[in-house]
């Protein structure tokens, strides 16, 4: 039961981790999809696949907004923003001690296929809803329906949020809401979606309800929820496979691609052995961490001016579209190993070390600036391999965009 501030902060922090982990799994599956007809798909399938990618990316965008709303909920009760999370994979079945598994369902970076869609449906499963038929792999029986360890016990995302809502309702409002009112993200981040401002119990309830409804839908009205959208994609995939049994909409991306082993990750990762690909994957991970640092800085309200905060926010948003996604797509076309049948790599979203905000505002900018400079250099260096791997030509633009981002930030934060 959640009935203290600490328990509520812990539960919201776990919700933030969950949202972050979910959206990355959705992004990974979306980025693994084939794009061109020379990848063994028909023109009509190409359109179908773009529709699926659009839907999965849209759900991922909504998860980003959920994450922002959770940050507002945390801020309203005196909590800190939560952008850390354990590295992938976080499986349940292969854990040495199953009771110690990190989440109550498998967290895997897996290419788009029926079993991935099934996991997504289970993530968003409404309370009381009967799970759909599992995929035709016998080893997946029972995935995602086990309980997490105490004190937080939940079997699906909506249930965690229900407990969080109850926690908000149990703790007296005048005691709970101690967060400064201006410390709320009120931006739409350019996607015409709503981040909920939290200042009291009704606004907290509204924010949580919106997250649950977007994920599960409301009882008797699942249309348009994440759960419903994933079910529909799964059905469309099944129909297309009936017509074309060998149809495979995704590139041969390996499971949980990683550049190195992580102490906080479970078993089931695939180490990227191909040297150039590993360097690109390391650059991707580095840039992803830089973006997370910027988000932490943005949501920490640590003394940056209004215009500096706008630049941080805009730079993050632009990096998601113009840097993170192109690099992720590039990786799904690069070899994971040196073997011809070794599969393709993918974005591992690895976090190499804990991310913490420097207490001094000037130091924060120096750290950020050093990272961005190095990433510009690395992008340019890796673009040199485009002769052997044409897909790496996109890194020239990634380098230009990172350089532009650095210059934009410099106009606000100075030379450092």
């Amino acid at each position: 039961m959640i009935d203290t501030r600490e328990e509520l902060v812990n539960a919201l922090s776990e919700a933030a981790e969950l949202e972050h982990g979910l959206l990355i799994q959705y992004l990974f599956a979306a980025f693994s999809l084939k794009r061109r007809v020379d990848e063994g798909i028909t023109p009509v399938q190409q359109s179908l696949i773009v529709d699926w990618e659009w839907t999965v990316l849209r759900v991922a965008h909504e998860e980003m907004y959920h994450l922002a709303s959770v940050c507002n909920l945390l801020s309203a009760i005196g909590g800190a923003p939560q952008f850390g999370r354990p590295n992938f994979p976080q499986p349940t079945e292969t854990s040495l001690v199953e009771e110690e598994s990190y989440y109550p369902f498998d967290f895997q970076l897996e290419r788009f296929n029926d079993s991935t869609l099934y996991r997504f449906v289970i993530f968003e499963l409404p309370e009381g809803e009967t799970p759909p038929e599992p995929p035709e792999q016998p080893d997946l029986e029972g995935v995602g329906l086990r309980a997490a360890p105490d004190p937080l016990v939940y079997s699906h995302v909506g249930l965690l949020y229900s407990q969080i809502r109850e926690g908000f309702e149990r703790i007296p409002e005048e005691v709970l809401f101690i967060g400064p009112k201006p410390y709320q993200d009120v931006e739409d981040w350019g996607l015409r979606m709503k981040i909920h401002v939290v200042k009291d119990l009704p606004s907290a309830q509204e924010a949580i309800e919106a997250i649950i409804i977007e994920g599960e839908g409301s009882p008797g009205a699942r249309e348009g929820s994440h759960y419903d959208r994933f079910l529909k994609i799964r059905e469309a995939l099944r129909k297309e496979r009936q017509k074309h049994p060998r149809f495979d909409p995704a590139r041969p991306v390996v499971l949980n691609p990683q550049t190195r082993r992580h102490r906080d990750a479970g078993e089931g990762a695939t180490l990227i052995a191909h040297e150039v690909t590993r360097e690109v994957a390391e650059l991707f991970n580095d840039i992803y961490s830089t973006m997370l640092l910027m988000l932490i800085q943005y949501y920490s309200y640590g003394g940056e001016s209004a215009s500096q905060r706008v630049m941080l926010r805009d730079s993050c948003r632009r990096m998601m579209s113009a840097v993170v996604r192109p690099l992720a797509e590039v990786l799904t076309e690069m070899p994971a190993t040196n073997e011809p049948e070794g599969g393709n790599a993918g974005p591992g979203f690895e976090i190499y070390s804990g991310m913490r905000l420097a207490p001094d505002r000037t130091n924060r900018w120096t750290v950020l600036q050093e990272r961005l400079r190095q990433e510009v250099e690395d992008s340019r260096a890796l673009a040199q391999y485009a002769g052997n791997y044409p897909v790496l030509a996109r890194l020239r633009r990634v380098g230009e965009t990172m350089q532009g981002t650095l210059l934009n930030l410099t106009t606000e934060f100075g030379e450092g």
Binding site: R35, V44, Q46, V50, D314, R318
Partner: protein, 268 residues
């Protein structure tokens, strides 16, 4: 002083936010290449060849009026001349990193005006303001709402009806189409033209009434070809030419917009 007034439709097949600007097919933004169509390339094309979809406007920006000082010239070798932006220019916004929405610079900026015999070419200065991030000298002046001006220029006073007429044409085309890919394409175009947002507003006409104004001094490299002395005057390449124009009336199905403007060319 020679002043040339030009206008016409141009095409730019570009991915839009939140797609990355080099996205080749269009996924999460509002623009998509349809199966069988080439990849999106962001190039601003003022003349054919283009990827023209059925029932969409004919592309071609041309000189429609010529003024010598203040007087309109009834006959002039540049009347009807084709206007081109050379060297495959793009709207270089790069998801807002280079410039915010509505301020995207056109990079590179080389104006070419050509008839059968006469060819005028002039580029923007080769200075950092025009050649380097964030291309301040080439940026547009922001999004301006100008539905009346755009309607006058395009002749389209009711964009919703205009798109409804196109939908009717596509519905008719659909009846005779047997190819599953082309049929799918027609259905997707109809869906795009009929799409409404959460408030019940049509999406496709949303940007039609807006324009981006540009003003670019052309003081870089230039050339004049007039082998038969048709111009009857000497074009001055030592002084800057000035080009002012707007781009607006965005048609997301055609991936076309309208442009209209003037170029002022000093003579001796």
């Amino acid at each position: 002083m020679l002043r040339l007034k030009f206008n016409g439709w141009f095409q730019c097949r570009l991915a839009t936010d939140p797609d990355p600007s080099d996205e080749p097919r269009g996924v999460s933004g509002s623009i998509r290449a349809l199966p069988g169509e080439p990849d999106l390339d962001r190039v601003i094309r003022l003349q054919p060849p283009i990827v023209r979809r059925s029932h969409t406007p004919e592309v071609g920006v041309e000189v429609h009026q010529v003024f010598r000082d203040d007087d309109p010239a009834r006959r002039h070798p540049l009347l009807g001349a084709k206007v081109v932006l050379s060297d495959d220019p793009i709207f270089k916004g790069e998801n807002g990193v280079v410039a915010e929405d509505g301020k995207e610079p056109i990079v590179p900026f080389i104006l070419r005006i050509a008839n059968d015999d006469v060819v005028l070419v002039r580029s923007c200065p080769d200075t950092p303001d025009f050649a380097e991030f964030p291309y301040d000298g080439l940026q547009a002046f922001g999004i301006v709402s100008a539905p009346g001006q755009i309607a006058d220029a395009t002749g389209i006073h009711d964009i919703q009806q205009h798109f409804d007429d196109r939908v009717a044409g596509l519905e008719e085309e659909k009846k005779g189409e047997k190819d599953p890919t082309l049929l799918d394409n027609i259905e997707r175009r109809i869906a795009l033209l009929k799409e409404v947002d959460r408030r019940g507003q049509r999406v496709a006409p949303r940007l039609f009434g807006f324009m981006l104004p540009y003003f670019v001094p052309l003081a870089g490299k230039g050339s004049v070809e007039d082998p038969n002395s048709q111009l009857g005057e000497h074009i001055d390449l030592n002084r800057p030419w000035l080009v002012e124009f707007w781009m607006g009336g965005w048609d997301p199905d055609a991936m076309c917009a309208f442009m209209q403007g003037y170029v002022s060319i000093p003579t001796q």
